[in-house]
């Protein structure tokens, strides 16, 4: 998996005691935006076969932003591959270092590490709140998640929120 918000969410759900499958579903739902990015990028990249299979793994927020911001197709393609490869290598290297380093850490709560995930999710959310509708949806989603949380298994509040927002978006 190479798509940050999904990775954080899956770890977050499992860490909060949710089932692996609730975590997996949340990760996949968060990854659905990459579908639209792929559609946006396909004509710019013009890749087929093995190259398309390789390019697909690099379709994320950052590469999409860097690719569509270029004026010329050659620049777009260069931006896509350069951003994708650089991020892929550094992100996974950072993840590996983090995974190895946790064994050397004392109680993570003492370092405030349990407060880090919500801050990370907030930082990922903020750029998406540019108008009134997403702002209202974010507030409603937070309220719904908190209200249902005591009554359903961990991780399920997220799936309820996803279902409600899908119904809202797909209404006629």
């Amino acid at each position: 998996m190479f798509t940050g918000a999904s990775q954080f969410a899956m770890v977050g759900v499992i860490g909060a005691g949710g089932s692996v499958w609730a975590g997996a579903a949340t990760a996949a739902l968060l990854g659905s935006r990459n579908l639209l990015y792929g559609v946006r990028l396909s004509s710019l990249l013009g890749v087929g076969g093995v190259w398309r299979a390789a390019a697909a793994q690099f379709v994320i927020d950052e590469t999409t932003a860097m690719t569509i911001a270029r004026d010329r197709v050659e620049d777009s393609r260069f931006a896509f591959w350069a951003t994708g490869i650089a991020l892929f290598v550094l992100w996974n290297l950072g993840t590996l270092i983090g995974a190895l380093a946790t064994h050397a850490l004392p109680n993570p709560k003492v370092l405030g590490f349990d407060a880090a995930p919500p801050a990370a999710f907030l930082a990922l959310l903020a750029p998406r709140l540019r108008s009134r509708e997403p702002m209202a949806i974010a507030i409603a989603a937070a309220v719904v998640a908190i209200v249902v949380l005591p009554f359903v298994p961990a991780g399920v509040p997220l799936l309820i929120v996803a279902l409600l927002v899908a119904l809202y978006g797909l209404r006629r």
Binding site: A27, N34, G38, L111, L125, A145
Partner: protein, 99 residues
């Protein structure tokens, strides 16, 4: 069990990306689909912020994480980089627990 879930979720996330590059454009031109997909991360991220700040297991709790989130929000408003936002929240929680 965890690794099975990770593998399935990874395959799903990759398949979504590959589908975006591969499917005919008109399949995804439906206005409702175009409108809904960007709303999913907004709702899910907001729900994650709320649940990870105000709950422990099945219980709603108000603890130092709420203050940490407030500091993170200020950092976001000041357009601080991602790492600074996350580190400021962790530092806030750690300091308040020391008091």
């Amino acid at each position: 069990m965890i690794w099975e879930g990770v593998l399935v979720a990874s395959a799903a996330c990759y398949a979504l990306k590959l589908a975006g590059l591969s499917l005919p454009q008109r399949w995804l031109e439906n206005a409702r689909v175009q409108r809904t997909i960007p709303l999913l991360p907004v709702a899910l991220l907001a729900a994650l912020v709320a649940t990870q700040t105000f709950s422990t297991g099945h219980h709603l709790v108000l603890d130092v994480r709420a203050a940490a989130l407030g500091v993170a929000a200020i950092a976001v408003l000041l357009r601080a980089p991602f790492l600074v936002v996350v580190a400021s929240a962790a530092a806030t929680a750690a300091l308040l627990r020391l008091l």
